[in-house]
Symmetry: D2
Subunit: 344 residues, 4 copies
């Protein structure tokens, strides 16, 4: 079949590839409809590696996907051909200790799409376990379905925060994950969100999405703005979604006594963490790694209209222009929030 293959660093090709994927009894075969481009896809393209994961063989890119079930394995009862679906890209080892505890995202043996040496899904079809394939509600499009993967990160962060209805949250960073975290925080019970980002356009977009107030951290300290808006108390929750070590180091400042800091972004180096500053507030710090068990929840919110990701889908490319789409996405100052490739 024809797939978008990363041959090696800086070299992409839309070409034929043979992938042998037998349909197991618990699997389904899915015709891919829409795939979002993630920063990690772009990073493999531009750098050929992410940390210990190195592209040593040609690899199909893409892991944010939605499509239609074509065929189901012999024991599958929850899905039928024709079902519109989206998929979790990681398949854990069911025998792993973390998996059995329900923490399957922490399984070290997980096989994750478009993470070497596992192929991604910028290709016409894929075989996947039914257990990690989720039906789209009728009101949710394929494009929205393909947004569930990045949204799941924000959902997982919101779940870890243990939001109480009416909480105030701060999100540091208004990139795609920051914006989706802000939306998940509001859908998950926050009354309002402050979002900090030095780029005015990102703040402006964020403010159109709901009761979200942008803060320019270069112009005014985030903590001061938040305290001024909360009678000096601070925010119940801070989500660090910038991955910037300096922003992360300052993440405790806007927090209220007894508040929670959720570390979503992945800084490339250790951050300076002021233990005593955390202690005088008895801050709780939660960390997230991908997500687990949140696809059905994300789809329920999209389906009922309590959360809307459509404003973040800013570009749609035809499959045969995939290489061009990646070249544009690799621009160091991207103007797009989320670009998607449509295979249907």
């Amino acid at each position: 079949m024809k797939a978008l293959v990363l041959e090696r660093k800086h070299e992409l090709a839309l070409r034929e590839i043979t992938i042998d994927e037998p349909l197991g009894p618990n699997d389904v075969r899915i015709a891919i409809h829409t795939v979002g481009i993630c920063g990690s896809d772009v990073h493999y393209y531009t750098h050929g590696r992410i940390g210990p994961f190195v592209v040593e063989e040609p690899m199909v890119l893409g892991h944010e996907a939605a499509g239609t079930v074509e065929e189901v394995g012999s024991t599958v009862t929850t899905l039928r051909p024709g079902d519109r679906v989206c998929m979790e890209p990681g398949i854990p080892d069911p025998q792993g200790r973390a998996t059995r505890l329900g923490l399957y995202n922490l399984d070290p043996a997980v096989r994750f799409w478009a993470t070497p040496p596992v192929h991604g899904v910028l290709r016409p079809s894929v075989v996947h376990p039914a257990a990690f394939t989720f039906k789209l509600p009728d009101t949710v499009s394929f494009a929205e379905g393909a947004m569930v993967e990045p949204l799941a990160v924000g959902m997982h962060a919101a779940r870890k925060a243990r939001i109480r209805p009416g909480d105030t949250a701060v999100v540091l960073g208004a990139g795609p994950i920051g914006l989706l975290t802000a939306l998940a925080a509001l859908a998950g019970g926050c009354a309002r969100v402050f979002i900090s980002d030095p780029v005015a356009e990102k703040r402006a977009l964020a403010e159109r999405l709901g009761p979200i107030t942008g803060i320019d951290p270069a112009a005014e300290p985030v903590g001061e703005v938040v305290r001024a808006a909360t009678e000096g108390w601070g925010a119940d929750i801070v989500f660090e979604a910038s991955g910037n070590p300096r922003a992360a180091a300052g993440a405790l400042d806007p927090l209220c006594p007894g508040g929670v800091l959720v570390l979503v972004g992945m800084p490339l180096e250790p951050i300076a963490f002021d233990v005593v500053a955390a202690q005088v507030k008895e801050a709780r710090v939660e960390t997230v790694f991908r997500y687990a068990h949140v696809y059905p929840s994300a789809l329920a919110l999209l389906g009922s209209g309590r959360l809307d990701v459509k404003p973040l889908i800013t570009e749609t490319w035809a499959f045969d222009r995939s290489v061009e789409a990646f070249e544009k996405a690799a621009d160091p100052a991207p103007t797009s929030v989320k670009a998607q490739i449509c295979l249907a």
Copy 2:
């Protein structure tokens, strides 16, 4: 001052009364603007008692109130004359063990408006601790402010449920508390709510408030409807808000494995609780008594527009027609959701 006084069972008078309330250093004096009529106010009017609380002396009614600060005590820094506010009606003993733990709603020594022998606030002004007086956001009206008290019950129930974003909830009973609980559940992160009530008008009103689906329990078992809508899994949360012992006994049926049942309604007699049915799901059961620490959260949600109580305010009466308002509210089949009395 002129107040709505319950002289004794069945006898209400709008008349002069003298209440001696010195302004302590931590208190504020508030001019009352709007007071909602609660079922408990009506019950004192029609029965002269609620459980152990008996009306033995004339008592001013009303505890769902909003108004304007007129004067502040010597140590008060958080409020100023002119501030628009709403108030928690219960004042706990700060020395009580439950209060010190933060569980002030469980303090047995609490003094609660319009609970004998404590006067309520259907009167021009009241002195109240600043710590239990909360500023209204600019976008929140006095009428909405007076809704915070019953909304707080739903908010507290939603908090106890520990909603995870995207959960499905069932609310049993579509009276005022059931409706407010449904709104709190949605604002608190639920993707959708099923509400069960035998009265078609109540279900119809509920369905206009958001992604809420009415169920007529006389026509179809609640559990069956919910399982059909959740691939057989059940609802993450059931809020029992009917106070009906039979409904409460059936509350476990729609629940999913590992789900939570929140008992909000107060049945007059013990319910039949099927322990084994709860165990095979490992249901968690939470119980709520009034509320604690949720006024700021409720006001934040009203202020940012994430929760809207205005459709539930169905009648507004002038203060001099208070007796008439109560007579109408005492109708055994009320057509109104929430009636309020305006003193301004």
Copy 3:
């Protein structure tokens, strides 16, 4: 092989039986050493059924077992022949939704030893998944290993209670599960336990196990005793382990404000649950069904000596006297706490 077979109600035989159990790649074969007799084994013997589970074919009894690994499947790396082990008797469907969430004890498709039609382990050997087979610490005997199954119920109850160090607990019922729950509560952080049982011998045994105080509920109300010992506040936790509907209905009385009631016992009929009595304390009610993820924890406590089950092992029978052991265990007023059968 020779096994203890329940032919039908009231008819036990120690006789040859053929059980075809191939060793799968994730399995181990275990030589059984010791098996405890559980009330459910006895109940199948005396009644031929428990609820919907009916003995329709001859069935081997026994599910509280310890033994030695004889052979391991091709992918098993965590166990080796010669390892001394104990086993969880229930094998869930790994594809089930509850299992994937980590709630495998709630999987409706679970296959559980000595629950019709699944054979138990009063026989020389069994094949079992490695994932549900746990190495005994060197300091833990086979007899103690065979106690882990009933202890796991108490451990799971203690975990659900979310004990805070120094809490006070009440256990209703001093049968084997009540005693093991009391030990788990102490090992899990409680400072002291009150145990209520009408039988003086059981209370006396309990009091020898640690800082446990017996209460005769026929002589003095449990709540009064507990309040007198806690400055009127009540117990942080009540474990209902009697299964007696009347005891369960009174379980809220000894509880403190904000406390938790854990329902461990399985009453045969719904209990009268006083919702308002629970609400004025905002009691949390947890329910337990068997256990999940606690075998390693139980073994760690036994291994380090923080929990000692040896005083509860009151009888040991040779395998060839198994029928006699069951006849004695079926005595309506058993004098033994835990009888075990030794096959080695």
Copy 4:
């Protein structure tokens, strides 16, 4: 009265001082019996300050105290003259927002004994709120009562960890707080504790206190030892109690997936925190500041014998030798764990 007064840095005097302390209605007057010497007392003596708290006026030292009630205020019902008690040294503002939430240890207006400008209790008597004065069980000595203050730090850390029965914990640092945290962790449900400290004597003392295994971090990486002992999984909980920035930076290494790191020690500078290392385990990080609500729990554990602090009380000094006791305690390589001064 005669008190141990820190005149200024390096200058201690046992001399007469006048402290005007009227007995308020909610207060008790206590005759001081035993006072422990804390590192912070010594630090004020040797440095004249701790962070922003500077000794500018003569100040009585001591805040770990037990004694006997001499007189009670007019509203006090929970204590009587003659009661043996210990006291929380911090008095929060009951009107503060954190206090009302139950987080009184986070109240910025707290008045804390022997923290400038508040006098400590190395003096014959003190007036204190009854709400922060706790009766000693009959089996608990004054010396043990004076240990409750530092034990409370460990208790609070153990509570924040949310130990599940049978967990494995690691404590970094075997100073007094590390040792008390290890004891609290065991009493709070841990099956075993690993304690890391470079000083062999401290490790040896720790190992005599229970199922505690010492690790010399200079000889072997803590993480490796712990993984070897846990089948490669890691510890459920790590308590950082050394305050050493380098030890704190390595605290994630021994942790299991889904584990919790509790930061108890207070490093003088920010630590290098590896966010990604925390994320791949989804570590939860809890921070503690002093303690709240744990004195009754600590006393319950001491009273029932589930926790024994006596082995840590290594020196007792008469009051008139207080200056000498402090000089010895100020030795940079102290041989004592806890020195106490007896005033009775």
